[in-house]
């Protein structure tokens, strides 16, 4: 809308006309010339840097999406600029995007803002054509305006939230005594085919009495996945700890207990019955002390063998780096005999898995950094516990902190690789041959970042 310079009448008229246009195009934004066809679209998402923040490449200013055909995505002679040619996905900050396996639908839950927590579904029609499909669904009342969510099975979204309750304490001022901290946990399931909420649950999540007394509590949950049998949902967990003997006193005289970052809890997973979302239970692995909630992308997959493979992260320095753990398909508990150590497989220390994709038959592709630095990709074999690292240009300056998705079509995986603010390429990995080829060129912008391929 442009400003106008005519008189009052003109302005009023303009207002009336633009209001009509505004409301009418909201109702029907579809373009009849675009038809669904058999093209496998690959959607690329790109995060815009928030110029008001000091952190470059935080993606806090929103997300652009742009889709190309699979053939174009794999073609190194094709140039893609999602920032210039794409469309801004509704979201104040980085949108949390998911897609159907065939790439035909894109799902978004807006992150923060007035419409934070609103679910939108789009039909992918190539280029910048993403047509709203079905009603909007509000999830904020259950899982806040900044929900953690994933497509947990085809056609099913699971959104989760855990927020630590205030610390319970005893004693009298100023000799307060730490008692316990629990987490208010909310989980809901979304029908992605016919957008609506299917089921919700809410409960207080506590760790064992011993862990609680030591100051441990669940601080975040994320990356839900439904198991092969379709009767359980596994949700990754981050555990934090207070120093129960140390606190400061705030302005109202209440104690503020200090954080204790010197130890990490054993890796844990929250297990709920599916689809009832009943019987919450925490399972614990003794294979690593780390988090299982990931950051922005899927961290656990149902394997070809029916077990769930789960990547961990956030192990303390010297803690052996990220692992891949196994949740047994029959016991629905951690497999006490299974652990894959990326450190050991690659001969490195303090690896940190930022995202990964299970590609079938025990083969996976892992995106990781080493001690918080660089961005690397390796092919892993979860059965014989080996790994092969690929050589990418600019490896030491790559940063996959914001990565949300790796696309898979047939035997090929597509990963968007570009340093923050610099051009890069889509890289195509063959899960059978292990071959890596360079795909389409990705044109970047200042502070920008390609964060997903779907």
């Amino acid at each position: 809308m442009k400003t106008i310079n005519s008189g009052l009448l003109g302005m009023a008229l303009f207002a009336a006309v633009s209001a009509t246009l505004f409301s009418s195009c909201k109702k029907d934004g579809s373009d009849s010339s675009l038809e669904e066809n058999s093209t496998r679209w690959i959607t690329l998402s790109a995060a815009i840097d928030d110029p008001e923040n000091t952190t470059v490449g935080d993606g806090d200013a929103g997300t652009m999406v742009y889709s190309v055909s699979l053939a174009d995505a794999k073609n190194p002679d094709v140039t893609i600029n999602a920032f210039q040619n794409g469309i801004h996905v509704k979201s104040d900050r980085t949108a949390r995007l998911q897609a159907s396996a065939d790439g035909k639908f894109l799902y978004n839950i807006q992150y923060t803002g007035d419409d934070g927590g609103i679910f939108n579904k789009y039909k992918v029609l190539g280029g910048k054509n993403f047509v709203p499909d079905g009603p909007e669904v509000e999830t904020a009342t259950y899982v806040s305006t900044s929900p953690r969510w994933l497509k947990a099975a085809e056609g099913v979204g699971v959104a989760v939230r855990a927020t630590a309750n205030p610390v319970l304490y005893g004693g009298t001022t100023p000799l307060f005594v730490f008692q316990k901290r629990t987490a208010k946990t909310d989980v809901l399931t979304l029908d992605l085919n016919n957008p609506q909420i299917l089921k919700t649950t809410s409960f207080d999540l506590a760790l064992t009495d011993q862990e609680v007394a030591a100051g441990y509590y669940v601080s975040r949950i994320d990356v839900p996945v439904v198991n092969k049998a379709g009767n359980k949902v596994y949700i990754g967990v981050a555990v934090s700890k207070h120093n129960t003997g140390s606190f400061t006193i705030d302005a109202t005289g209440q104690p503020v207990f200090a954080a204790d970052n010197s130890v990490k809890s054993w890796a844990k997973t929250l297990v709920l019955d599916y689809p009832s979302l009943a019987n919450p239970k925490i399972i614990t692995s003794d294979k690593t002390r780390g988090n299982t909630n990931g950051y922005r992308s899927t961290m656990q997959y149902v394997g070809t063998d029916g077990h769930v493979y789960q990547a961990t992260s956030g192990e303390l320095a010297g803690g052996g780096g990220s692992k891949i753990l196994r949740i047994n398909a029959t016991t629905n508990d951690y497999d006490p005999n299974y652990v894959f150590s990326l450190d050991q497989a690659l001969g490195i220390t303090n690896s940190y898995i930022e995202s990964w994709k299970y590609a079938g038959n025990g083969v996976g592709f892992v995106v990781y950094n080493i001690a918080g630095k660089g961005g690397y990709i390796a092919k892993v074999n979860l059965n014989d516990k080996t790994a092969t690292k690929y050589t990418l240009p600019n490896e030491t300056t790559l940063n996959f902190r914001q990565i949300q998705n790796i696309a898979i079509e047939g035997d090929e995986l597509l990963i968007a690789v570009a340093p923050i603010g610099q051009d890069g390429n889509i890289y195509v990995f063959n899960r059978v041959t292990g071959e890596m080829t360079k795909g389409a060129k990705l044109v970047n912008e200042v502070g920008g970042q390609y964060i997903g391929a779907y």
Partner: protein
């Protein structure tokens, strides 16, 4: 009132006073003995000027002893001068003038400056908002400000809702709000621009960028100074009551009394406002959510928990124009307010049962004396000590839908909110503050037209918090912080080249002391941590006004201004997840203004004045919260205030006012600026900051009809128009995140009965029932009607 325009154009302004002074008063009448209202009475050599009231009465105070020439000029009479010898404290001089014929009328020029014009041509980029017209109408002080050039008042909803002021693109802590030169925070939120009726306000001064010495503070963007009505010579009583849409009731009363003989002066004013604010909304963000989460947008509904009630009073008593003081007034100010909070910053989620209550008791003293001890030395002290209480309650655990009913889940049961209350965790917070604010000014006339002044502002806060949900008693250990600041400014004002060049050179010293006491318990042992921090900064500036011709002024100013970091920003606030940063540097802004004022030009019955100003602001070390979301310690969701490289704002504004035959008054103004990001590392380098309206137009017209219904009655018709250009609310271009173009139109009329005692007015706001927004996505009221009656008694 017949010559109300003239009367308000020409009002008292007092400057230097010589050694022994007296008061001259009397009545101006024509050859038939009829009073002449609205005539200018002046003593030119003493720089004294006033206007006669409805009864033709005038009073000039602080007139030096000796032979003085009193001149009377008026639009309807021939000029006349009389010579009087002043040798006693009170002199009465009645002046008889001759009615003018047409020819003489043309030659009348008004040489005196009104207070408004005097301030506006002082060299600062300042606009003075007159409240006279608004006082008898159904207009909020904030609405009046919003029509002022370069000012954008952003309010999240109706009467009583949260307000933010934007001056030429600067906002928040950068803009200072003052009442009679004292920070408004002294009075608490129950006495603010939301609820002070225009009737109690003498004028509002809006300074953009560069601030004069007497408004010293650590501010960057400018200041709004509300000058309340002072006890004046005439005894009067005014009262008004208004009722309108959304069950809105507003009333105010003020009375003024001065005993001529002793100089004893007392003034009382009070106000009461209550409203349900249950206006209809239907915008995009008004949404109804079904149990399965499906969203219905543009849901037409009424706001259901947005009521507001406030009551306040102010009593002043003391002496004016006595031997030992020009002004000595003791004041007491009390106010109380209750507000239902319908939603947070945006309309996304409606609240039910979240309320805030505030109370304030303010004791103040004002002392003013010219020629204190020696000739040419003036002293002014304005001090207040306030006791403020704020109570916020939010304990209702149910989530609400925009239809005013609790949200229902899939199983048909009401849904609890995530954190246990409407906005967050349940709270009953009680905060007591004691604020001391002292402003003093000492100035000395070095020689004619040259004046040196010293201003000092002291501000200190003492705050006590209590969580009534977990009371710990008064003996509990608590973290405490104390905070005080001093701003000292030295001004040198000079009027040279036959008073045509006015310059004001100043420097300001900012001093801040912040102390905090923390208690840390470690394995049973207590340590007390006392932190003290003292910092000093310096700023400076120059304001220049040059009178090219009597009605053409060029105005320019430049300043380096400082804003000191707040105590929370330096010491952190664990309850608000803010980490401390002892290295925080003060924020600095270079402000420039260049402008002109043309007029008033009189051609026959036409009057025209034009104002234009260009401005630039460059901010360095802007203080902002930093996002701190570390990958390895995701659970830490704390933030820290840091200095970042920053913004620049460049723009221009203009205003044209036109008057025809003192019956038709028209005004149009606009403001357009670019607030640009100046971070070179960003792709948004040099682009407009989001979520700031950057182009606004206001226009209004006022037409007066005399003797229409009854003889010597007066009917006034008003029309106002406002335009806000669309602006984006996120950095990227996106149709979903744009606040659309807004047009608002209001009409009103007021009728003054022949007795001049009663004025009644009717206002229709937003006549087209347009969808208008203020803060992003918060819809403002649609069409609304208000009726008001004013009652005035003079000289009881």
């Amino acid at each position: 009132m017949k010559h109300s325009l003239l009367a308000f154009l020409v009002s008292i302004f007092s400057v230097l006073v010589k050694a022994q002074t007296g008061t001259v008063s009397g009545i101006v009448s024509d050859e038939n003995g009829k009073a002449v209202p609205g005539a200018t009475v002046m003593i030119k050599q003493a720089d004294k000027l006033t206007a006669t009231d409805d009864q033709g009465k005038y009073q000039l105070t602080g007139v030096a002893y000796g032979e003085q020439l009193i001149t009377v000029i008026s639009m309807v009479t021939a000029p006349k001068s009389v010579s009087v010898k002043i040798n006693q404290p009170k002199t009465t001089v009645h002046i008889r003038v001759q009615l003018a014929d047409e020819k003489e009328l043309k030659q009348v020029t008004i040489v005196g400056k009104t207070e408004k014009r005097k301030i506006e041509t002082s060299g600062f980029a300042v606009n003075v908002v007159d409240t006279k017209e608004a006082a008898s109408r159904n207009i909020q002080t904030n609405e009046l400000l919003d029509r002022t050039v370069g000012v954008r008042v952003r309010q999240s909803g109706g009467i009583g809702s949260q307000v933010e002021y934007n001056l030429n693109g600067m906002t928040g802590r950068a803009v200072g709000i003052f009442i009679d030169g004292l920070e408004i925070s002294t009075y608490g939120s129950s006495f603010n621009l939301n609820n002070i009726p225009p009737a109690l306000i003498e004028r509002i001064e809006v300074y953009k960028g560069v601030l004069p010495g007497h408004l010293s503070g650590d501010l960057l963007g400018g200041a709004i100074n509300i000058v309340l009505k002072k006890g004046s010579a005439a005894n009067n009583l005014t009262a008004s009551a208004s009722y309108g849409s959304f069950n809105t009731f507003q009333s105010d009363v003020s009375a003024n009394y001065r005993q001529l003989k002793s100089g004893f002066t007392t003034r009382f004013s009070g106000f009461y406002t209550s409203t349900d604010n249950d206006y209809e909304q239907w915008g995009r963000f008004s949404k109804y959510i079904r149990p399965n989460g499906i969203v219905e947008r543009n849901f037409r509904t009424k706001r259901f928990f947005d009521g507001y009630r406030t009551v306040g009073g102010r009593l002043e008593a003391g002496f004016t124009n006595v031997k030992w003081a020009d002004v000595f007034l003791l004041g007491y100010n009390a106010s109380d307010s209750y507000k239902e909070i319908q939603h947070g910053q945006t309309m996304g989620r409606p609240y039910m049962g979240r309320t805030s209550e505030t109370q304030a008791h303010v004791l103040g003293v004002n002392y003013k004396k010219s020629n204190l001890f020696v000739k040419g030395l003036d002293f002014n002290l304005n001090a207040a000590h306030s006791f403020r209480n704020t109570y916020v309650q939010d304990t209702l655990p149910w989530a609400y839908n925009w239809d005013g009913q609790p949200r229902v889940g899939l199983n048909g049961n009401p849904i609890r909110t995530l954190a246990g209350a409407q906005q967050g965790a349940p709270m009953m917070d009680d905060i007591d503050r004691q604020i001391t604010n002292v402003r003093s000014n000492l100035s000395y006339a070095l020689f004619k037209g040259h004046r040196l002044s010293l201003n000092e502002v002291f501000y200190a806060v003492d705050r006590q918090d209590q969580n009534l949900l977990a009371p710990l008693g008064s003996d509990a250990l608590k973290r405490s912080a104390d905070f005080s600041k001093n701003v000292i400014s030295i001004n040198y004002e000079a009027e040279t080249f036959g008073n045509r060049l006015a310059t004001n050179l100043f420097t300001k010293i900012y001093q801040q002391a912040v102390g905090s006491t923390n208690y840390r318990m470690n394995q049973g042992g207590i340590t007390q941590e006392i932190l003290k921090d003292n910092r000093v900064e310096q700023g400076y500036g120059l304001a220049v006004s040059y009178q090219v011709f009597p009605n053409i002024h060029l105005i320019t100013s430049a300043e380096r201004a400082i804003r000191m970091p707040d105590d929370d920003e330096i010491f952190g606030s664990p309850d608000r997840n803010v980490l401390s940063n002892h290295n925080l540097r003060p924020e600095m802004s270079d402000n420039y203004n260049v402008g002109f004022r043309l007029g008033t030009f009189d051609v026959k019955k036409h009057k025209l004045s034009v104002y234009g100003n260009m401005f630039g602001r460059k901010i360095r070390d802007r203080i902002m919260p930093q996002a701190n979301e570390l990958l390895n310690s995701q659970e830490i969701e704390e933030t820290q205030f840091v200095n970042i490289s920053s913004a620049q704002s460049i723009g221009f504004e203009g205003e044209v006012s036109y008057t025809y035959n003192r019956k038709l008054v028209m005004m149009v103004n606009f403001s357009k600026f670019n607030s640009l990001l100046k971070n070179r590392a960003s792709k948004y380098y040099n682009t407009q900051l989001p979520n700031e309206p950057f182009f606004t137009i206001n226009a209004n017209a006022h037409y007066r009809l005399d003797n229409l219904i009854q003889k010597s009655s007066e009917l006034n018709l008003f029309y106002t128009f406002g335009y806000v250009a669309p602006f984006k609310t996120v950095w990227p271009e996106s149709d979903d995140f744009v606040t659309p173009t807004q047009y608002s139109q209001n009409v009103g009329l007021s009728y003054t009965f022949p007795s001049r005692k009663i004025v009644t007015s009717l206002d229709v706001k937003n006549i087209l029932n347009a969808e208008i927004y203020d803060n992003f996505a918060v819809q403002k009221p649609g069409r609304a009607f208000y009726l008001k009656i004013n009652y005035i008694i003079n000289n009881f």
